[in-house]
Amino acid sequence: MKQELIITMIIFILLLLKIGTNMSNAAVLNLANGLLLLNLAAGFIGNRSGVLFNEMFITKPLIILEKNILSLGTLIVSLQSSSWLKKHEHVPEFYVLLLCTLLGMFFMISAGNLLMFYIGLELSSIPLAAMANFDLGKRKSSEAAMKFIISSAFASGLLLFGISLVYGATGTLTFSEMAAHITGGSLQIFAFVLLLAGFAFKISVVPFHLWTADVYEGAPVAVTSWLSVISKGSVLFVFVSVLYTVFRPMAGTWYNMLFVLSMLTILIGNLFAIRQNNIKRFLAFSSIAQIGFILVGITGSSQVAAASVIYFVLIYVFSNLAAFGVVALVSSVTGREQVSDYKGFYKTNPVLSWVLTIALFSLAGVPPTAGFFGKFFLLMSGAGKGNYVLITVAALNMIISFYYYLRIVKAIFMDANEQPIERLAIPAYPKLAMFICVAGIIVTGLVGYIYDYIYSLSFGF
């Protein structure tokens, strides 16, 4: 409960600041970043495992690790968005909303009960709609918020329906008791499909991905990066643990569903990503494809699979946030977000170019970046079931994804441009964030200990 309490305290501090004082934006940013750093550091010390409130709230080393990954991501997002927030008039509010969603995710991950899970999920998605609208003057931003709230309400509806059916079929909402009642009857399968659809909406699995690109494009870059990494990551954590514990008796059923969904997701995400010209939309579709790869890993349902998914999310935090960090900086200074704007980027901004390139290579899965290890282990855990068709399709899809990532690299290094993006100064906070990301991309892969540690905490069957 400690991590939740710290977040709540930070929320209150920021609220009081907004009401009681008249601090400058820079001061608020310093304070907020400092508090988030403290929050991250506190996540590593003095943790206790246990069960609270009649199994509503569970915490154990794995969950603490997952929360720490999210805290780290939050800190990076906050550091990166400082150049955008400095000019904004509602800085404390942004942080309050951001931390509310984080709090919701924490509760969601710790939930031992479907109701608690649902409350956490709602707490993590409703403030997000407000965040998506945070460029108050922009029409696209409010459109994105509207789309997000409607689709997310729809997903919540599906989830709730599923939850009520699960309750009807099993007579309980507590995860630990539910597993004993899961038999794979038709009502339960129906309930599971609804639950799965709800999850699929949140992590934008094809065919539930339609909101993704528009929301990503319209929302401010900071919110987009938050949505694509932290929000999806938290849902993935829960998804894996629910599948592997509660719905374990139905493994044969959901294996087939995930098999189809993952192939579709990779393929559609890839094919759409090829044609995108807006770099945010591009990253949206590439993130859909990445989710497809994660689903391949989940189908493995072994301890290796669970560990690989968490490991990949950690890597994904670093890689995607590094990419978004550059995009955020460019967009906040020049307002340019097209892929073609990045032509000749290397001539004017070599450092930013390398950061973006390393991030893209990591997303594509090219060694020695961590993305290579992440993807390799995901596909390997998928292959553990002996389904080589899935692996072959996924491996061949890597080529398509490779093409569109290289397209950006090609624009950066090789294409000529008469009006390249001018030379940008990198402020201290984004620089720090990029440094953390790049260091993470390189270290996480090459140092085997991190994976071993995650593995020692994971579970599978």
Partner: protein, 488 residues
């Protein structure tokens, strides 16, 4: 011997390159780094020769560290004679490549950095004994090629770079499936499978499993070494690449594929290799004959060498497909020989182009008069390519043919005869191009020019070519040291 030094030395060089400033400093660092690698490789060669007599084990200087314990992935390196030969080749070509790019002014830091990274990938690949480590280094070597061609290349460079990167990535995707398939079909020890090549070789994967995964691994590696019909990246990639990158590509990178086909596909899955050998031989023969015929039609010197590379790498695959000891020995010899020869060829073409600004055979003539050194290097490379006795190409090709003929099967012999016949075609295109370019009246870009306008090779180019020529002649005159090295 500390084998990991082969990875650490390029890595240190690469980091030093990042920290250094100014063209002079950068190229000095790159050169020193590659020379140190070369010296270390010689040291390794002698240590290996010495140790082998004492020690009977197949792999020497092994280092084994657990990398990812839950998946039983190791960082496991070790060498045998074949790896030593390939490492020597890599070191030679690296030094020559650095020297040839001495006058590289455009983004020189990045250029030498990527070249160093590429050689690191190659070294790592040749010393790996764990399939994961091997795959890791295989892919490390892909990205530098993309950037080298795309940034510093000429002609349709973006297209070529993308084509090469995607095809090689496709190859590695297939390799990936093959490796993972092998992994999950090894017997478990304490509940975990293994990527260790030595263990897999001992365990004998069941034949029906081999039949499934051999094509993945072989074709995957085959893409790297221009297996027909996956050779199409070769002409575009080689001709668009800057000189040093062409040398690395043809000299080292294509050998990654050949080595992988041999070490991973054939030696770990011998039953499947026998089962599919006729397909391999068919494809190799097509590559040899088709490559040679396609070369006849080329008018650009780089394209000539690129297409002839397809033909020459066909010999490597032919040797592997024939599966006799001699033939495989010939395949390895051919890899080394072709690596040196083609690197020399590309270096000479690069030097010619640097001075004449054209690579069209029709527009060049009589260059022997103005640049005797470069023209001689060019001739040596050409003669080696067509298999003149005394140069390395002859040794390698004869060994392949002898090994192939040992197969009594009529169809295999037919393939051997066809492959032999292709040498005649090789002689035609090589001699024709050479005669036009270096003999006859002096001609540059289709017009006659003053003699004193064009200079001969500079010191760096002389050393670069000299190193490669030394290698070619050393193998050609005294092949026994290399065959003995590999023979074990």
């Amino acid at each position: 011997m500390f084998l990991s030094a082969l990875i650490i030395l390029p890595l240190v060089t690469a980091i030093a390159l990042l920290l250094s400033n100014g063209v002079k400093c950068i190229r000095m660092v790159a050169l020193v780094g590659s020379v140190v690698q070369l010296l270390y490789t010689f040291n390794l060669l002698f240590a290996y020769m010495e140790q082998r007599v004492v020690d009977g084990s197949p792999m020497l200087f092994e280092e084994d560290h657990v990398w990812y314990a839950p998946l039983n992935i190791h960082y496991h390196v070790g060498i045998d004679g074949i790896s030593v030969a390939m490492i020597l080749l890599t070191a030679f070509v690296t030094v020559a490549g650095m020297l040839v790019s001495w006058s590289m002014e455009k983004l020189s830091k990045e250029f030498f950095f990527l070249l160093t990274l590429l050689s690191m990938g190659a070294y790592g690949f040749f010393i790996s004994l764990d399939l994961f480590t091997l795959f890791f280094f295989l892919e490390v070597a892909v990205i530098p090629k993309f950037l080298l061609i795309g940034i510093w290349g000429s002609g349709r460079k973006e297209y070529s770079a993308m084509k090469l990167a995607l095809m090689l990535m496709g190859g590695s995707a297939l390799v990936f499936v093959g490796l993972v398939g092998l992994y999950f079909n090894t017997q478990t020890i304490n509940g975990v499978h293994t990527f260790g090549m030595l263990q897999i070789a001992q365990q004998r994967i069941p034949a029906e499993v081999q039949y499934i995964f051999f094509p993945f691994a072989f074709v995957g590696f085959g893409v790297f070494t221009a297996l027909f019909p996956f050779h199409t990246w070769v002409p575009d990639g080689h001709s668009s690449a800057p000189t040093a990158a062409s040398m690395f590509l043809a000299g080292i990178s294509m050998k990654l594929g050949g080595y992988g086909c041999l070490r991973v596909a054939t030696l770990l899955m011998p039953e499947a290799a026998h089962y599919y050998s006729w397909i391999i031989i068919l494809l190799a023969t097509i590559a040899i004959v088709y490559g040679a015929l396609a070369t006849m039609m080329q008018t650009d010197l780089k394209y000539i060498n690129a297409y002839s590379s397809i033909s020459h790498c066909g010999f490597v695959l032919l040797g592997i497909g024939m599966m006799t000891q001699t033939a495989i020995m010939g395949a390895v010899l051919q890899m080394v020989s072709h690596g040196l020869m083609t690197a020399l060829f590309f270096a000479a073409i690069g030097m010619l182009y640097h001075r004449t600004h054209t690579r069209q055979v029709a527009q060049l003539g009589g260059l022997l008069k103005v640049m005797p050194f470069i023209a001689s290097a060019f001739v040596i490379a050409g003669l080696c390519s067509l298999g003149l006795p005394g140069l390395s190409g002859f040794v390698a090709e004869v060994t392949v043919f002898m090994g192939s003929w040992q197969n009594a099967d009529d169809w295999y012999r037919l393939a051997t005869i066809l492959a032999c016949a292709s040498i005649v075609i090789t002689a035609v295109y090589i001699l024709r191009a050479m005669g036009k370019v270096i003999m006859g009246p002096l001609q540059v870009q289709g017009a006659s020019v003053q003699q004193d306008l064009i200079g001969d090779a500079a010191w760096n180019e002389k050393i670069a070519a000299g190193i490669l020529i030394t290698g070619i002649i050393a193998i050609g005159i005294a092949p026994f040291w290399l065959t003995e090295l590999i023979g074990q």
